[in-house]
């Protein structure tokens, strides 16, 4: 879109444009209209990242290609509001296309733009439209309805088969009228003016590191980025904008804990012990709310597990889970708002700033190259997993699977946070892939284990609600299906583990990190 969008001035009127075009082409005014448009994207800018934008205008939500301006999909939605879940839209191509990109995330109204648009057609000697042109005077509308002017623009839309004419119009605008191509599309200008980052706030971690960098410096960099993500996701978690805020919050806490544990010798022991205890608490106070988020989000998938005739009977179970979720959220929100959390994150930030300047006497790994320290940890955790996994068979207690999975998470974070920036992609990427495949099975096993326990614990509560008897029976059917699936996960484990811990893989890990 940028290539066909120019910043204009008040002097850019239809007649001025017409004169600039010269012989052979003329301009005709096809109408003036005012429009109100609201731009949507997820908190982390998923649509923009996919080269798309979503705009609501005239009762219609459209998914638009950012570069070409082409409408990919559209559907009528009277008033989408400040927050919109694609999963709640009517089934259809727009819903599918949005879900493909944003999944569970909510689309948030980021900027409302009021624009006066004059539509012009550029005509050839047959009076055929060969280029469409819009002179647009946009203004940002704030929540109180006040306008602040955005830069006016000329937008060109190509008509198929008239590329030469488009080129002529473009060069007339730049050469004759001295207009500059827009440095950013209107959507970005509007979203920035509304106080948001057009690219969104990503929770992805990719901190560039040097192999020979001091380990404490590297660890502090990574941990500060993780702290940024925790802080960026706090408000959304508390406001329950969508489930990903809490998820990203917890992943960052867990990753921070991994770094604290795996690189423990870069920190002074005493403050570290305190921070580790506090981060463990942070993980705990957000745990129930997240688990119940997952139950509610995945309820339809769970419902599919029971015979069709029983599916509706599970409704009371969903209600019970929703009730528990709300209660867990209330508790979590009050914890997250507590002085204990704000003070913890404050102290943690200051501690990370100071870390490299602290005495090195009780933290021997601090000055060592991070490549060496992290590589050593990767090797060690991997070897430990190989040993643990080799001892697991289908009859092993659930606890063994769970322990292995916990190690797997440690290894995954080490690989993602340190392995990826410091070691060759052709070793790290396949290793992460094999690990993910293994973790999927272990995760499924653990999820089923927990779900079975949770559902069983809900029996009394469920028995006392309306429709409880049928719900209990359906829940019973669900639990037995979950048990079957847990067993299936056990059966799949061996094959996945064999890939992860094969002889060649072990050799490669040793050669790279050992």
């Amino acid at each position: 879109m940028t290539g066909c969008e120019f910043l204009s001035t008040d002097a850019t009127t239809p007649s001025v444009v017409g004169e600039a075009l010269g012989d052979g082409l003329q301009v005709t005014d096809t109408g003036l209209r005012d429009s109100d448009r609201t731009y949507y994207d997820t908190f982390d800018g998923l649509l923009r990242g996919a080269g798309l934008l979503a705009a609501h205008e005239d009762g219609e939500l459209a998914l638009v290609d950012r570069d070409s301006g082409d409408v990919r999909q559209h559907a009528r939605i009277a008033t989408p509001g400040q927050r919109l879940f694609p999963r709640d839209l009517e089934p259809g191509p727009l819903r599918d296309a949005l879900l493909d990109v944003v999944e569970e995330r909510a689309l948030l109204a980021l900027a409302r733009v009021h624009a006066r648009r004059r539509a012009l057609s550029v005509l050839d000697d047959e009076r055929k439209t060969v280029v469409r042109m819009t002179l647009e005077e946009p203004a940002l509308v704030d929540s109180a309805g006040r306008l602040s002017i955005l830069r006016p623009r000329v937008r060109l839309a190509a008509v198929r088969g008239y590329d030469d004419e488009l080129g002529n119009v473009k060069s007339a605008l730049t050469r004759e009228l001295g207009l500059a191509a827009a440095d950013q599309p209107l959507v970005d200008e509007a979203v920035s003016a509304a106080g948001h980052d057009p690219a969104g706030i990503s929770s992805k971690i990719s901190v560039p590191l040097q192999f020979d960098e001091r380990s404490d410096v590297a660890a502090a960099k990574v941990l500060k980025r993780l702290l940024d993500v925790i802080e960026a996701n706090t408000d959304g978690t508390i406001a329950d904008i969508d489930s990903e805020f809490l998820h990203d919050y917890r992943v960052s806490v867990r990753r921070s804990r991994s770094v604290q544990r795996e690189l423990k010798k870069v920190f002074p022991p005493e403050p570290l012990a305190e921070f580790r205890a506090e981060f463990r608490w942070l993980q705990q106070i957000t745990g129930d709310a997240r688990d119940l988020d997952v139950y509610v989000l995945e309820f339809d998938a769970m419902r599919e597990l029971v015979p069709e005739a029983m599916r509706a009977d599970l409704d009371p179970l969903l209600e019970v889970l929703r009730g528990r979720r709300l209660a867990a959220r209330r508790q979590m929100v009050s914890d997250l708002r507590s002085q204990r959390v704000t003070s913890l994150l404050d102290r943690w930030a200051r501690f990370l700033d100071r870390l490299p300047s602290l005495d090195e006497g009780d933290r021997p790994d601090a000055p060592r190259p991070v490549g060496e320290v992290a590589g050593g940890r990767i090797h060690k955790v991997y070897r430990r997993m190989v040993k643990m996994g080799s001892a697991i068979d289908e009859s092993s207690p659930a606890e063994d699977y769970h322990e292995l999975r916990k190690r797997g998470k440690e290894l995954r974070y080490l690989l993602e946070l340190f392995g990826a920036p410091l070691y060759p992609d052709d070793v790290v990427k396949p290793m992460i892939k094999a690990l993910k495949a293994l973790q999927d099975v272990l995760g499924r096993h653990q999820d089923r284990e927990v779900q079975i326990a949770t559902l069983s614990s809900l029996r009394d509560e469920l028995a006392s609600v309306r429709g409880g008897t049928a719900a209990l029976m359906a829940t019973g059917a669900l639990v037995s299906r979950l048990k079957e699936d847990e067993q299936a996960a056990r059966e799949e484990f061996a094959a996945r583990f064999a890939v992860f811990a094969g002889k060649d893989q072990r050799k490669l890990v040793k050669a790279t990190f050992g």
């Binding site: 559209h74 057609s121 047959e126 009076r127 055929k128 190509a158 008509v159 198929r160 088969g161």
Partner: protein, 251 residues
């Protein structure tokens, strides 16, 4: 997969081009991605959409599949409605087709690369029976035949049946639908004839296009009737025809 509709009649001047232009316009107005291929060397549809009747390399290169058909397409003044223009060379398209082993498959092959790009493709065919029309029947899902009640005689019905028979020789599964064109509402005879034929034949549609000044003004306005005379009698008649065609084709 696009649906392909051909407007066709052995005779000229019966409202074939007008139907192609107005129906394709209505399709695009429903936001269906629409292409109109003006196969008639006279270039009526091309003229009405103000596009220059010129196809680089001509019809010959096109049916030899040596042209990049994507690059020959022109956007009309209506969003979502594109045109593959007529070219003077189309008058020799019979000869161009005759060169191939399976000449009647050629037009379908020209359209093949576009099948995911358009929801509906309209073919405006020259009035004749030839390799071109056989190719058109081969490429089409539905052949839409305008019939004029004024000249309605046993011969018109024979001609319609001849089209049906011709189409049947092809790949199969092609619908032939006829509609009344240039209807004079004041003539009782027209109404009687139409009633009788609709009752007798399942392939004759209810919708009828009136003989009207608006249809003739298309040549001056160079646009679809829905654009310059949306409140006249012809515009709603085309809308009804389009709705009926869609209903018959899409079920």
């Amino acid at each position: 997969m696009s649906r392909v509709l051909a407007t066709y009649n052995i005779k000229g001047g019966v409202g074939k081009t007008s139907a192609a232009v107005n129906l394709s316009y209505l399709a695009s107005r429903e936001r269906l991605r629409t292409l109109l291929w003006d196969l008639d060397p006279q270039g009526g549809s091309t003229y009405l959409f103000r596009v220059k009747p010129k196809v680089r390399g001509g019809g010959d290169k096109l049916v030899r599949l040596k042209s990049d058909v994507e690059k020959l397409i022109k956007g009309t003044d209506h969003q979502g409605l594109d045109l593959l223009p007529a070219d003077f060379s189309y008058r020799h398209m019979d000869l161009a087709l005759d060169r191939f082993k399976k000449p009647t498959r050629r037009l379908a092959r020209v359209l093949k690369p576009l099948e995911d790009e358009y929801d509906w493709v309209f073919l405006d065919c020259p009035p004749s029976i030839s390799l071109v029309s056989e190719s058109v029947f081969e490429a089409a899902d539905v052949v839409l035949v305008p019939i004029v009640p004024a000249t309605l005689s046993s011969r018109t019905i024979e001609q319609l049946d001849a089209v049906v028979a011709d189409v049947r020789k092809g790949k199969g599964g092609v619908q032939v639908l006829a509609f009344f064109s240039m209807v004079d509402r004041r003539k009782k005879l027209h109404h009687e004839v139409m009633e009788r034929l609709r009752a007798e034949r399942h392939d004759v549609l209810e919708a009828a296009i009136p003989a009207s000044a608006e249809v003739e003004r298309m040549g001056v306005k160079r646009d679809a009737i829905g654009v310059f005379a949306p409140r006249g009698r012809a515009a709603p008649a085309y809308e009804a025809l389009w709705a009926e065609v869609r209903q018959r084709v899409e079920g």
